[in-house]
Symmetry: C2
Subunit: 279 residues, 2 copies
């Protein structure tokens, strides 16, 4: 079985995105860098143990990396969470998932940031890009206008939705459909047999500019804005955020992680995530 | 200008659905009849004034019909609301909208029923079929499992989603996207130039059976089930239902009705709707 990464290796592993295509890697690095450039001074360095910064299954068929920076002092950021995952598929191909999310704390009720690319074959990609709301939009139409209508997020969704290779993606988990916003970009992009290059071109020329724009909107209109949040509201936000985090871990990782990495590594990684999430 | 319908004519006008194709009409009649058969004994007769049961624009280019039956006594039904609308389009074609919704009152928190067909040309149809939730599904995962997971509504959505002529429909109103459930069937079905018959075949053989199944689920699992709703919860439901009703009228009818029917008729119909909605 492969030897574990040394602490020094593990520290840099996240930003390497070693298993994805060049445009996919560039996009991830650009997004993480953009957040760190704008919010870095409010963030503590990543303090994760090296065996969750980089981890791999005993059989060597799956590996992953976690990266977490918590907000400090008066920052509105709760934490930034980056991750990647690579695993060999029984079919011979490999699955690559990369994600970046930034959670705000309850000093603000502004939306979080969420970006995820799931490449399940050279020609097949699922894209999730959203500013998930932190309140019930049904009872709070003002929140809907402020963060989703006035920001014109729908126009960005439509840009990608119009790609001939794209179709709306419906998560099999109904709960995930509930936590995203009405302008969430959830697409399955299929470039057709043998056309892996076209998919990378789409990532570079279409997904990347839209993702950067949406992140820019989030940095300007969500992360940087002071919102007046009363005490009672903070309790509500804390409770709602907590339910989402618990359910997300359960749905996203609860079943797949033990299967991919075995119970021991899965427990190690999930324990760290639960601790970061505070749930 | 056309003479107004007599009171006797107006009384029957709703169930005539005079401007839509035979399969479209049959489906509407079947759905209304199914609700009335199951819940009719709990419903008061329609008591709307004849000039909203049937109304038309002065120029005669648009006409519509409303039908409302309120719940009585210990019924969980707030009201049943049916409507149709027909108007000539500047392009020469016509637009037909038919809808049936049933709203429950705050003795229960179970979902409402919503069905709408928008036929904007002989070959183009928008279908909205949903049990809109009455609570924030994000903070109430049990409600999500009870009404949406355990009922297998997603499998019905997928049946229609798989039609080659169907694609997901995104309402231009973000608020409407927020009020529907994660298993909402929102589809645009286009049968292609010259293939109006194929669209009617889809209504008859695909939309109709699924709509009846979903209505059956609603009748069995929502309208017929006793839910324990505490006093505080009732206040919340009343508030949330009220916000949705106000926003729905505003979005759905507020701007289009005055344009189609002129200010006087629009006010008459909207006033009746506001009174029924209690907003």
């Amino acid at each position: 079985s492969p030897s574990p990464a040394s602490p020094m290796e593990a520290a840099d592993k996240f930003m390497e995105f070693p298993h994805v295509s060049a445009p996919h890697r560039s996009l991830m690095i650009d997004l993480v860098s953009a957040v760190e450039e704008r919010l870095g001074s409010q963030l503590l360095p990543c303090a994760l143990p090296h065996d969750v910064r980089y981890y791999q299954s005993d059989a060597g068929s799956a590996r992953g990396s976690l990266y977490v920076r918590r907000g400090q002092g008066p920052s509105k950021v709760d934490f930034l969470l980056g991750s990647w995952l690579n695993c060999q598929l029984p079919t011979g191909g490999s699955l690559n998932i990369t994600s970046l999310s930034v959670y705000l704390n309850n000093s603000t009720d502004a939306p979080n940031f969420l970006f995820e690319l799931i490449r399940s074959s050279p020609t097949s990609l699922v894209l999730i890009l959203d500013l998930p709301p932190r309140k019930d939009l049904v009872t709070d139409p003002d929140y809907l206008s402020t963060f989703y209508e006035d920001t014109q997020l729908e126009s960005r969704r439509q840009v990608l939705d119009k790609l001939p290779e794209a179709q709306p993606y419906f998560s099999s988990a109904l709960y995930i459909r509930c936590v995203v916003s009405p302008t969430a970009i959830m697409l399955r992009i299929e470039s057709g047999a043998g056309k892996a290059e076209r998919l990378d071109e789409i990532v570079e020329n279409h997904v990347s500019p839209v993702a950067k724009e949406v992140l820019g909107i989030w940095l300007d209109k969500c992360a940087a804005v002071d919102r007046n949040v009363e005490e009672e509201e903070r309790a509500y936000l804390g409770r709602r955020d907590g339910i989402i985090k618990r359910k997300t871990i359960e749905i996203d990782l609860g079943s797949s992680f033990p299967r991919l990495f075995g119970p021991e590594i899965a427990k190690r990684v999930l324990d760290v995530l639960r601790e970061v999430y505070g749930v």
